[in-house]
Amino acid sequence: MEENLMEENLDVDFRKQSNAKEIWRRFKKNRSAMIGLVLFVFMFAACFIAPLFVPYTSVTRQDTKNKFAPPSVAHIAGTDNFGRDEMARILYGGRMTMSIGFIAAAISLLVGGSLGMMASFYDKADNLIMRFIDILASIPPILMALAIVSAMGTNLRNVVIAISISRMPAFCRVVRAAVMGIVDQEYIEAARAGGTGDFRILTKHVLPNCLGTIIVQTTMNMSLLMLAAASLSFIGMGVQPPAPEWGSMLSEAREYMRSAPSLMILPGLGIVLVTTQLNLIGDGLRDAFDPRLKT
């Protein structure tokens, strides 16, 4: 009450939450994250806009007279062992690799994340869910993916399902740990004291406070998922030829490592660049999401 005498009491508009703007402002300040984002947007756009300019036929059309051609006007990145246009394969392959990564990350997050949240919020479910997750986690991810794919057949859908399941324990544990740290906070008890129901507590008080962790975890895992997809393709259990995918392209090019190294370097570089960019973005997001680091 004393304070009122000293501090002018201006009427202030209650602005709607502009959290996203605030987060973007903080993200922009992080140089490495911004570089990562710009490069990623560029590569992403290139891979996903490619179909507008390059027909899919140029990916599969073989030109046996023109194998291992050096870069030329017709083939910017040269041709591969079947005389197919390497650039087109890289672009379409990137689209495939990234799509698998995104979709698989979304599935893992949705399933693993909800399990983790349930486990941390409801004591009784905790043991059941976490022991199940422990079992899942005790199987090496790539082995499990292999088993799933070989049991269900090698097609794109099964590859996505397989790698999603293999990363699920990670998501589940991270979300559970994040939620656990928040459920113990006094503001959750305060919300209960005000008559707030479980659903609103979860969506309004718990989720926003662990969103940062979840988003960061998702971006970081996305790169792991892409690697997993590429690895499966590399050993021939993933995307099947002739469809291009960075992992399978790497695998095919292995035989010509000495004579035509660019065939290996290009898809390899693609994988390295995209995963690095995602990790940089993830780091930047983690810092931007924490208002305590606000400057």
Binding site: E2, E3, M6, T295
Partner: protein, 344 residues
């Protein structure tokens, strides 16, 4: 009682002298002025209470005495610290090692964070003894000393094989004190040693610190925000606000003198009385100033109920009477308080 004598006895040996100390924390974004011109001295066997609220610079002052400020950000900008006559600021790393532990020891508010959870308390005490083993004790003698120190703080020496988590909060603080006492320091700095403890345990620990001080004849700097602890343990008191000593004097001066710094008055007005019931507390309005943008003039002026024009414009001088020093413009006409030329 004792306080009056010590302040008058100018011949008494000064073990610590701090002269016009300035400390800043520099980060990329801002410069925090944590300590702004602090001077005080401490005689052998004497207890000084350093009183103030969070952010007043009490802990920073203590860390500066031991040269323990965070290396990259904390800087001593000006002033000097003399311990037993020699400057701490010019000491080599090796001398500093001896200084910390052998000459000065420090205990902190939270005993758990200052103990290593994976070492037994016996090991932690003997480590401190063997690090400063100027007497050339053998391993056996060190163990004897560990038992002795533990008994001193009221822990049965049979418990020396136990780990910190097996002790309660009060017992842990005793262990911390035992480690500090192990090398018989000349000066103990206690930084809010009982804030984390319950009242009954606080009474036990305070009693123990007082007894140890009297028995070993060491000097003590008691950092606290609790005026009760000050009244019960300190000979002299320095009240700190925004990195400055606003009032210094014997405990009797601080609690009984007719004139005070308005901040000291504010502190007393803020605490509920135990013996009588007051209708309403008289808190200090507002907040501690931002240490990156301190106000011009007197640092307390924005919160001071007696603030005059001069307070906002000019830094106050120190006015003193019989060793009771007040840094306030408004003391200029107070009876017997004359400008302290030495300090200002």
């Amino acid at each position: 009682m004792i306080a009056k004598e010590t302040t008058k006895e100018a011949t008494k040996e000064q073990m610590l002298e701090v002269k016009d100390l300035f400390v800043e924390y520099q980060t990329d974004l801002e410069t925090i002025k944590a300590v702004n011109g602090v001077s005080f001295s401490l005689a052998k066997g004497e207890t000084l209470g350093l009183v103030g609220e969070t952010g007043a610079g009490k802990t920073t002052t203590a860390l500066a005495l031991m040269r323990l400020l965070p290396e990259r950000t904390g800087k001593i900008k000006q002033g000097d610290i003399l311990i037993n006559g020699s400057s701490v600021l010019k000491s080599s790393d090796k001398e500093l090692m001896r200084l910390r532990g052998e000459t000065i020891a420090m205990i902190f508010q939270d005993p758990m964070t200052s103990l290593n959870p994976v070492l037994t308390i016996g090991d932690q005490i003997s480590e401190s003894i063997s690090l400063h083993n100027s007497q050339g004790r053998t391993a056996e003698q060190i163990q004897l000393r560990v038992d002795e120190v533990l008994n001193m703080v009221g822990i049965p020496s049979a418990r020396k094989g136990e780990y910190p988590h097996q002790f309660s909060g009060g017992m842990r603080q005793r262990v911390v004190i035992a480690i500090a006492m192990a090398c018989e320091p000349d000066l103990l700095i206690a930084d809010e040693p009982t804030t984390a403890l319950d009242v009954t345990i606080q009474a036990q620990v305070l009693m123990m610190i007082r007894n140890l001080r009297d028995r070993l004849g060491m000097s003590l700097i008691m950092i606290t925000h609790d005026l009760g602890i000050v009244a019960q343990t300190c000979d002299n008191v320095a009240v700190m606000y925004a990195g400055e000593l606003v009032e210094v004097g014997s405990a009797r001066d601080i609690f009984k003198a007719a004139h005070h710094h308005p901040y000291t008055d504010g502190l007393f007005g803020s605490i509920p009385k135990l013996r009588e019931r007051v209708k309403r507390l008289k808190p200090i309005s507002g907040l501690m100033p931002d240490p990156t943008r301190l106000p011009t003039g007197c640092y307390f002026s924005p919160r001071c109920p007696l603030c005059a024009d001069i307070c906002r414009e000019r830094k106050p001088d120190v006015f003193a009477k019989d060793g009771h020093k007040i840094k306030c413009h408004l003391r200029i006409n107070a009876d017997g308080y004359i400008k302290d030329e030495v300090r200002s």
